[in-house]
């Protein structure tokens, strides 16, 4: 033995193995441990799924009550046939995990404020925000409520067991790719995680408020200016429930507190002074037409929820068939049931209600200990929720949040959320904190046969409130603007409210029989596109910020066309007509002073003038319009906003257009920094000249074609560009029915014709597999980008020999 060389060589070997087992930080990013990552039997190569991979298997689980057969078609859509209903949910959990585990867990980590455990300190701000908002608190309350219902508890338990059956089968080599890249392992699933996922949807859909921004706008502007900038009425509105529809008699009469004008409306307390928050744009379309308006004579239902577009997708397509029900559609990896889809008798879909169901109250604490707060003339004790936020590579962060009668005191001296000055205490009152059993809606909708079943199902929906559309083979169509909507006095909760007495609290919810709905209306269709649900005759105050234009276009098309077919519905769903541009274009063209234009300006003006108002591929005019309007808004408002606090509300998109259509001498057109009085023509022309400079740069970058400027892309949930599909060649815009914009758009397009044998079509921008190494990872993206659909196959047991069936997994006990 040669001792010295032996020791040296041994040392090198060990160091090498050690170095390859460690996660180095390279260029600011944490790299995977290269040894196991590159090992063809352990690492990423194991996730490179063979293009002819065989998904078939025979599996045994003692938890099952009977046999379950799952047939996968050529798009990898599983058709689950279970002898026992709860077995279907077990298998749904197993299959969701098999194809989407990493995403499922990540979403619940995001919801529960646990991102720092995975990505380290840079997740801490997010985690604190979510914990302080009371997301875990809300999920725990919802879980308790769900588990009180024996049917839903059994369903959740089966789903959780199915997810865990898959997690327990994992080995180092079969772990999803992202776990290998980032270097962590999945933990077991639980009903709480399902509840957290659902709360994540509430966060996404029921946090439509700008109370802090509005408070500053109210404080900064005079009451008269404020009313002009933030009008409560939209002239162009075509509400979900048509104008003139009579409403139920008002039963709850919310009363504004005494002294509300001086204490609340006219208070000039600027509370906040930091960076601005992002404005999410979650909109959607849904509609149903009755048989009188279709070629076949059967109702057609359509839905396209607009959400953040990610890979893996939020949606997973599947069919669940049990002796109780047979449903097909888009499911949420993370929750049981079909969410948007159809069964043998009916179809159902949703758009977001978008009302303000989250308000803030300023709390007066006795001292910094936050143990007591002033409420209704006495000091009241708070309770504390202490959160331990785990952080990868660091000791955990301990956060303590005081809870009041309103809810958690989200903003305090220790947490500004980049929105407050740290010297104020704001408690948040949010409907998502109230007990609710949202899964029940889907469980019941999956088996709904008729209008009565639908009504019984959707009334379980509290938060996030949705416009629930329905059609069934009986010929009925319906829409219900369902949710827990606080009955507010006019202006309540538009701004931060005093939290020192009960008079500013919500005085009740709008009674369920006063929730606006439509059932077989005479016009033969129902529709919603996030517009204001009702006109001014509705007795309750429901806020002021709703996008009107998609709704106007949809209602016009649905009204004008006499006979629809599934094909014409697909065309309508992917229609690129820009309702906003159509509204304001005459005004722009009429007021443009083209006399002083240089060659570039003339060229861009010609593009604008000759644009057909459609956000199509190659439409240069659409880009010109977008840039011009942006500059126009800036030209009109920037002078007034120049000295405003940074966190402040800008006027809603429709405000300027509506104001000018009513009054071309709108007060804000005048530049307050000049002595002369600027006119509409001055503003438009000046904005256009500035826009032309931008457009020149955009054109030099080769981005003048609309789809390049709009830049629609599907981002990987972990922001890994190689696993994303960016800069797709696809049309649409935020004011078109086809509401594509950046990483936001129709996340699932569905058209269901309820003929004797249901005819359905659908597509989502993703693929069934969450594995970036699978050919099924993003194989729907191009079809989606082109505005094409797949036929949705409601398979029957008699069709098992059909050539579309490619693989089969059998589950037995």
């Amino acid at each position: 033995m040669r001792l010295i060389p032996f020791i040296i060589s041994l040392l090198i070997t060990c160091l090498l193995i050690g170095a390859l087992s460690k996660q180095w930080t390279i260029g600011g990013k944490k790299a995977p441990a290269f040894g196991s990552f590159f090992s063809p039997q352990h690492g990423f190569w194991q996730n490179a799924e063979a293009t002819d991979h065989d998904f078939s298997a025979d599996l045994k689980f003692p938890q099952l009550g009977g046999k379950v057969e799952v047939y996968f078609d050529d798009r990898l859509v599983p058709h689950v046939f279970a002898e026992k209903t709860n077995d279907a949910y077990f298998v749904q959990g197993y299959i969701h995990a098999k194809f989407r585990l990493w995403q499922m867990e990540l979403q619940t980590f995001a919801a529960g404020g646990r991102v720092s455990e995975v990505i380290g300190e840079k997740g801490l701000e997010h985690d604190r925000e979510f914990r302080r908002l009371g997301m875990v608190y809300a999920a725990e309350i919802a879980q308790k409520e769900m588990e009180k219902d024996p049917e839903i508890k059994a369903e959740c338990d089966a789903y959780t067991a199915g997810v865990n059956a898959y997690i327990n089968s994992l080995t180092e080599s079969t772990l999803p790719l992202e776990y290998k890249l980032i270097g962590y392992k999945p933990e077991l699933w639980s009903n709480l995680k399902t509840s957290l996922f659902l709360k994540y949807m509430s966060y996404d859909l029921a946090s439509h408020e700008n109370d802090i921004e509005m408070t500053n706008a109210k404080s900064y502007f005079s009451a008269e200016d404020f009313a002009k900038l933030f009008p409560a009425v939209q002239d162009s509105l075509d509400p979900i429930i048509p104008k003139g529809t009579p409403f139920e008699k008002q039963k709850v009469f919310p009363v504004a507190p005494a002294g509300v004008d001086s204490i609340y409306f006219n208070s000039k307390d600027v509370a906040i002074n930091e960076t601005q928050k992002a404005d999410p744009e979650n909109g959607s379309n849904n509609w149903a037409v009755s048989g009188s308006k279709t070629v076949s004579g059967a109702p057609i239902l359509c839905n396209d929820p607009h959400l953040g577009l990610n890979l893996p997708s939020l949606w997973f397509e599947m069919q669940l068939s049990t002796p109780d029900f047979n449903a097909y559609g888009a499911t949420f990896p993370g929750a049981p049931s079909v969410i948007i889809g159809f069964n043998d008798n009916a179809a159902f879909g949703f758009t977001n209600g978008g009302r303000d169901v989250r308000d803030y109250y300023e709390i007066k604490f006795k001292d910094d200990s936050r143990k007591e707060y002033w409420f209704d003339s006495s000091w009241r004790a708070t309770t504390f929720r202490v959160d331990t936020i785990g952080i990868s590579g660091r000791e955990p962060f301990i956060d303590s949040v005081a809870y009041t009668v309103f809810g958690p005191v989200m903003f305090d001296k220790s947490y500004s959320g980049k929105r407050s000055l740290n010297d104020k205490y704001y408690a948040v009152r949010w409907t998502a904190h109230d007990p609710s059993n949202e899964l029940k809606i889907f469980t019941l909708l999956n088996k709904a046969k008729n209008y009565a079943d639908y009504s019984a199902a959707v009334t379980n929906l509290h938060t996030p409130g949705q416009n629930c559309v329905f059609a069934c083979k009986d010929g009925d169509i319906a829409i219900r603007t369902q949710g827990d909507w606080p009955a507010k006095w006019k202006g309540q909760g538009d701004f931060i409210m005093p939290g020192t007495d009960s008079s500013y609290m919500w005085q009740g919810m709008i009674p369920q029989d006063e929730v606006p709905f439509q059932y077989n209306p005479e016009r033969g269709f129902v529709s919603s596109a996030n517009q204001k649900p009702v006109d001014e005759t509705y007795p309750y105050y429901i806020g002021r910020d709703y996008p009107p234009y998609r709704g106007i276009t949809i209602n016009k098309r649905l009204g004008d066309t006499t006979k629809f077919s599934p094909e014409s519905m697909m065309k309508l769903q992917t229609d690129n007509f820009d309702g906003f541009a159509a509204t304001v274009m005459p005004l722009i063209l009429k007021n443009m002073q083209t006399g002083s234009f240089n060659a570039d300006e003339s060229k861009y003006f010609d593009l604008l003038k000759n644009w057909n108002l459609r956000d199509d591929i190659g439409a240069k005019g659409a880009t010109v319009f977008e840039v011009v309007w942006q500059h126009f808004e800036d030209t009109v408002f920037n002078d007034e906003y120049a000295k405003a606090p940074k966190v402040i509300m800008r006027p809603h998109e429709s405000t300027l257009a509506e104001a000018l259509l009513k009054d071309s001498a709108f007060k804000f057109l005048d530049d307050i920094n000049t002595s002369q009085v600027e006119t509409l023509a001055d503003n438009i022309t000046a904005a256009f000249k500035q826009a032309a400079l931008d457009l020149k740069t955009i054109e030099a970058d080769g981005r003048l074609d609309w789809e390049k400027y709009n830049g629609v892309g599907i981002r990987h949930l972990g922001f890994i560009p190689q696993f994303s599909r960016l800069n797709l060649k696809t049309a649409g815009g935020s004011h078109a029915i086809n509401a594509n914009r950046s990483n936001h758009g129709p996340s699932w397009r569905m058209v269901v014709s309820l003929t004797a044998k249901t005819e359905a079509y659908g597509v989502y921008p993703g693929g069934q597999s969450g594995n970036p190494g699978s050919r099924f990872y993003d194989n729907f993206v191009d079809q989606w980008a082109e505005g094409k659909y797949y036929p949705l196959w409601m398979m029957t047991k008699a069709e098992v020999k059909n050539k579309s069936v490619k693989w089969k997994i059998t589950f037995t006990n």
Binding site: F6, S9, L20, S36, S39, P40, A48, T51
Partner: protein
């Protein structure tokens, strides 16, 4: 002959062990085979290196071909910042080869006498 046989044995042992054990068992396999076969240091290193270089690159090549190199394109861009599946396969072979090479060298030094 002894050289070729040791390559074959290291590859086989490594493959079998990795079915159940962590990736670094390739080092144990190379070490044991080198100890038993008692070749010179250079030859042992080469045997270990070649065994795993070949095993890992051939395996990854086969997996990647069956995958239409779909994932290799993405991962090579992500890890190596170039879109080239073959570089990724080469990197795979080199990482495994180096570890096995040094492990085999260590094994050979443990023998008192060399044939």
């Amino acid at each position: 002959m002894k050289f070729l046989l040791s390559i074959l044995l290291i590859a086989l042992l490594s493959f079998a062990a990795a079915l159940y054990m962590p990736w670094w068992t390739i080092a144990v396999a190379a070490f044991i085979v080198a100890l038993v076969f008692n070749m010179s240091g250079g030859k042992s290193f080469l045997a270990g290196f070649l065994a795993i270089f070949l095993l890992w690159s051939v395996m990854s090549f086969l997996i990647s071909s069956n995958n239409g190199h779909l994932l290799a394109h993405k991962v090579s861009l992500l890890i190596l910042s170039v879109d080239n599946p073959y570089y990724l396969i080469l990197a795979t072979g080199l990482i495994g080869g180096l570890v096995a090479g040094f492990a085999a060298l260590t094994g050979s030094f443990l023998r008192t006498k060399q044939s």
